[in-house]
């Protein structure tokens, strides 16, 4: 296990070192040249392209940091870039926006660090491992030609002059290899930690990004709840309210008819009763749409189970929650699952669905998988977009994996605590 992770760290480090040096040097040079050529005019055209490449390169490193060493580095760029006009004026605007962005300059600083100290740190895990076989090879006789050509051949801190010192060199190499075995992954992590201060947003930018996000999600929430209230108002007005009015009118007519025409009165009574039943059904559906009764009574786990019983698919539910989340979070999660299930029923062609929900690392994670034909995307369906917005209000995220041919897997994550 240790050997595997050390080897993996070595290979990854080697990759980082090679591409780090090549990529950083090339990109840094291009960026500097391109920015200086802006005075001549050509740079205006090239700078956005080059800086775009720098950002992509940095973003790749951010992803690797998270995947290879568990170092999460948030991206500092404001997206999207400011709306731009076409033509040269637009280009100039774009350039100035990019150059005014502190993140651009921090990226360039990072390129410098990455091609030097960063590359060395990345190279170490592989180098230390390789010293062990190298030392053994030296001791096995390779020292002779080396010493003959160079006089004294230095292996690490050991001056190799004869077989004795060659053994010493092998021992030193193997020791270094063992040390590498234990420190490799840590060194790889150190490489990313070194990059982190420059790659992550500044405190100021972090707050600005947060404000952007909050503004956006607040707009979404306000829009959504206004739309929901309008819908409820309309449903009440056209549905239950109208039926109660009809009932009142029927009762009035019955009062007048009851002695004159008892048969007709009886018919109207039946109609009035049917109206009241209809009104109740409509109110019930409305309540279910606002806050489902099982959710209120039992919480998310049983509400999802009850939901599974209502869809015409075979649904397997695996929900384990040690407590209840805050009511708004439960509600958002419930409606998210409900929407995803509706989608699966209507569009996926699936006949089996698996729902898996649990709470870990401070977040509620729900995965809904079906065996349908795939091809779902957040961009295409308004349904999933709505879910994403709803979850966004709680800093939650939604991810859809749905290759053509299936299966579709929708995962949701909402940060929350259980009580």
């Amino acid at each position: 296990m240790r050997v595997r992770s050390a080897l993996l760290a070595g290979v990854r480090g080697l990759w980082l070192a090679v591409f780090g040096i090549v990529g950083s040097v090339v990109l840094f040079t291009l960026a500097v040249v391109s920015i200086s050529f802006m005075l001549l005019g050509i740079g205006v055209l090239t700078t956005p392209v080059v800086l775009g490449a720098v950002r992509a390169f940095a973003d790749l490193r951010r992803v690797q940091a998270a995947e290879w060493a568990g170092v999460r580095i948030p991206t500092p760029y404001r997206r999207p870039l400011p709306a731009r006009r076409g033509g040269v004026a637009g280009q100039v605007e774009l350039c100035s926006a990019l150059l005014k962005d502190k993140a651009t300059w921090r990226d360039l600083q990072w390129l410098l660090v990455d091609m030097t100290l960063g590359a060395v740190l990345a190279l170490l895990p592989a180098a230390m491992l390789l010293y062990a076989p190298w030392g053994v090879v030296v001791a096995s006789g390779v020292w002779k030609p080396l010493v003959r050509t160079d006089g004294t051949f230095w292996f690490l801190f050991v001056p190799v002059t004869g077989q004795d010192t060659a053994y010493l060199a092998a021992a030193a190499g193997v020791t270094l290899g063992v040390v590498g075995l234990f420190t490799g992954p840590a060194l790889l992590r150190a490489h990313f930690l070194l990059a982190e201060p420059l790659l992550r947003p500044t405190r100021e930018r972090e707050l600005a990004l947060r404000v952007d996000h909050l503004t956006e999600s607040r707009h979404d929430v306000v829009d959504d709840s206004a739309a929901a209230l309008r819908r409820i108002e309309r449903d009440l007005h056209d549905g239950a309210q109208a039926r109660l009015v009809a009932m009142g009118m029927s009762l009035g007519t019955i009062e007048a008819l009851v002695e004159k025409d008892p048969a007709q009165a009886k018919r109207l009574l039946a109609a009035a009763r049917a109206d009241s039943a209809e009104a109740l059904t409509e109110l019930r559906d409305l309540v279910r749409g606002i806050h489902p009764p099982v959710l209120a009574e039992r919480g998310l786990a049983d509400a999802v189970r009850a939901l599974a019983l209502r869809v015409p698919l075979s649904v397997e539910v695996d929900v384990e929650l040690a407590g209840r989340a805050a009511e708004p979070v439960e509600s958002a999660a419930y409606f998210a699952v409900s929407e995803v299930l509706t989608n699966a029923t209507k569009h996926s062609g699936a006949d089996r669905v698996w729902i898996d929900a649990h709470h870990a690392e401070g977040a509620l994670r729900i995965a809904v998988t079906d065996n349908g034909r795939g091809g779902a995307s957040v961009a295409a369906g308004t349904g999933l977009l709505g879910v994403e917005r709803r979850l966004g209000a709680f800093d939650g995220v939604l991810a859809v994996s749905s290759p053509a041919g299936g299966p579709t897997m929708v995962t949701m994550e909402i940060p929350c605590v259980l009580s």
């Binding site: 009763r273 009241s276 039943a277 109740l280 019930r284 309540v287 279910r288 009764p293 099982v294 209120a296 009574e297 039992r298 049983d302 189970r305 009850a306 599974a308 019983l309 209502r310 869809v311 015409p312 698919l313 075979s314 649904v315 397997e316 539910v317 006949d351």
Partner: protein
């Protein structure tokens, strides 16, 4: 027949008391909270209990929980659960012990006093009274399921009414056929669901359970 009523809304509680008294039931107690219901069920041992799902103090499914707890102490204690909404999840929990004497109805079923009282009597006698809504939710599910899929349309119709807890005579009246025809259908249904002919009454409960369970679901 002695009834315990548990309902927190005064208007509805009062209405239920008056309705059942009009049909010659004896009201042993009319309570308004979960703990009171628990005590009443244990101490008064009523012939049947009419219970609202949502009761104070928690206003969650307290009524249901107390009813289930009482049935664990006294198996088969007849309970008719009333609710503003019906959920298969709750229907299955109520029926799970397979001992009958269970009803689960929407509150508006009270509008039809005769049918409602009939349901109370059926539950008190150890039968079942499932709300048509629970049944119709099941019908909307695609039934790819083998045993249920084998039922003919007419048999499904009969099954639906059996699941609600109706007697053969009641089913015959509703479907405008003879009682013997209904009996033939039910025995066909029992055969198709592989329910052995040991105890005819309990088989009806088991058929309901099978009906609920074989909607093709697993939890």
């Amino acid at each position: 027949m002695r009834v315990v009523i548990a309902e927190d809304l005064f208007l509805l509680r009062d209405g239920l008391v008056r309705l059942l008294e009009a049909y010659d039931f004896e009201i042993a107690a009319a309570v308004e909270s979960g703990p009171e219901l628990g005590r009443a069920l244990v101490e008064l041992k009523p012939d049947v209990a009419v219970v609202d799902v949502r009761l104070p103090p928690s206003f969650t499914d307290e009524g249901l929980q107390y009813a289930l707890a009482a049935r664990r102490r006294t198996p088969g204690l007849p309970v008719l659960v009333l609710s503003q909404h019906v959920e298969q999840l709750y229907a299955r929990e109520l029926l799970a012990d397979g001992s009958g004497g269970i009803g689960y109805l929407l509150k508006d079923r009270v509008f039809d006093a005769d049918q409602f009282v009939d349901a109370v009597r059926r539950v008190a006698a150890g039968g079942t009274a499932m709300d048509p809504q629970v049944i119709s939710q099941l019908l909307t599910r695609r039934s790819r399921d083998e045993p249920l899929g084998k039922l003919t349309p007419r048999e499904r119709e009969v099954m639906e009414l059996v699941a609600q807890g109706r007697s053969n005579a009641a089913i015959a009246t509703q479907l405008l056929v003879t009682e013997r025809a209904v009996a033939k259908h039910t025995s066909n249904i029992f055969a198709k669901l592989a329910l052995s002919p040991s105890d005819d009454d309990n088989r009806r409960v088991l058929a309901v359970l099978a009906y609920l369970d074989r909607g093709g679901l697993s939890c």
